[in-house]
Symmetry: C2
Subunit: 225 residues, 2 copies
């Protein structure tokens, strides 16, 4: 592990920091959840084989993912649950608490406000934005809701770094523009069904429910025939 002439799938960036592939990070989150559960069950040790079975992955995939971050397992034994749990927790933990804002307090936005995903100590939800007068000025789920018009100013003042976009397709680009104009936004998670264009140093992740449904139906057509 960690020679400079590393030639595997994880690559060293110029700065010397390892670049982890997105599918690996995605699985790390799954491992983390599973480990949390095993931890609660007071399980002591688990093998890559078992992890794979529980998550529907090959054992070799599991081992490869986990090995990117050092030799954390024990040969002939497996992975010590608490140690691995702690280890993955460290990998996934941000180096600070991110300040985030949610734009679009419609049904989906409100659903997210109550969703487990937004209950994390990795970030702090500092502001909501909407253009519905009945919502602006309110405190919803403990978070103040501001007028979308004031977005740039408030995001800048509060130094919001991450944006969750739950607005209709037509409002996605303008919302992104206003937010990015503040200069503090580094990442966006959008649920809108439109592509949004942002400066290239802003990271965008998209969750597109329609696309997932369409894919499901497409492959159903093929498999059921």
């Amino acid at each position: 592990m960690n020679s400079c002439a590393f030639r595997g799938q994880a690559i060293f960036k110029e700065a010397g920091i390892m670049k982890i592939a997105e599918p690996t990070v995605e699985r790390l989150v799954l491992y983390y959840r599973l480990l949390s559960q095993l931890h609660n069950e007071e399980r002591r040790v688990v093998s890559s084989q078992e992890i794979g079975e529980m998550l529907g992955l090959k054992a070799s995939q599991v081992r490869k993912d986990l090995s990117y971050f050092g030799e954390i397992g024990k040969r002939g034994v497996g992975y010590h649950v608490d140690r691995l749990y702690q280890h993955i927790s460290n990998i996934l933990s941000p180096n600070r608490v991110w300040k985030i804002a949610l734009v679009g307090v419609g049904r989906l936005g409100e659903a997210l406000l109550g969703h487990k995903a937004l209950r994390s100590d990795k970030f702090k939800l500092e502001a909501l934005f909407d253009n519905d007068p009945s919502k602006v000025g309110q405190v919803i789920c403990g978070i103040p809701c501001y007028d979308s018009e004031e977005m740039t100013e408030i995001i800048r003042r509060k130094e919001i770094e991450v944006l969750i976009l739950t607005v209709p397709a037509g409002a996605a680009q303008i919302s992104a523009d206003r937010a990015v104009a503040a200069g503090t936004v580094k990442g966006v998670l959008t649920f809108a069904t439109t592509a949004i264009s942002v400066p290239e140093d802003v990271l965008v992740y998209r969750v597109d429910i329609s696309v997932e449904l369409e894919k499901l139906l497409f492959f159903l057509k093929g498999s059921v025939a």
Copy 2:
């Protein structure tokens, strides 16, 4: 096009039907949306280059995706908008209207009920399920809500083929089991943060909001440093 000795990335299945890769299908949906928009703008012709720019893809990617389904463009000119729109529409159209049910009428479930994604003539939402007595027996957004206990029977009777799961993690597996027990379910779109296990002929797609957020934060940590 369409020799039997085809050796490209799209592969013929035994039955002679072409197998399209998932990333391609995902992009087809994006092309479809874009074409719909161009159609409304009465645009006549569009090139792979332009499509790529609008969606953030390489022109060669666009051409390759579209070429899987025959020579639909015109060399030296581009793609005829209406023709391509119709063509992609045909590819994505199911050969019948799927009957679907939504399990878990909480905030997320209700958000989906109002969401554009569920407004499609490709499927018909026939039933809701929940175990909250205040919801069971109601008609919500025009769809009757039944008790989760009766799921197997009702799904069988109504011949529901696709399931949308918006239940808490703890209820995901039991819900899937009850639904699958009916014997009619072919596909599941789950929003639960647990892996569900189903017979292997049932297709499962997962939308995991927490995972997307975690990924975003992980890569932000790396890029902002």
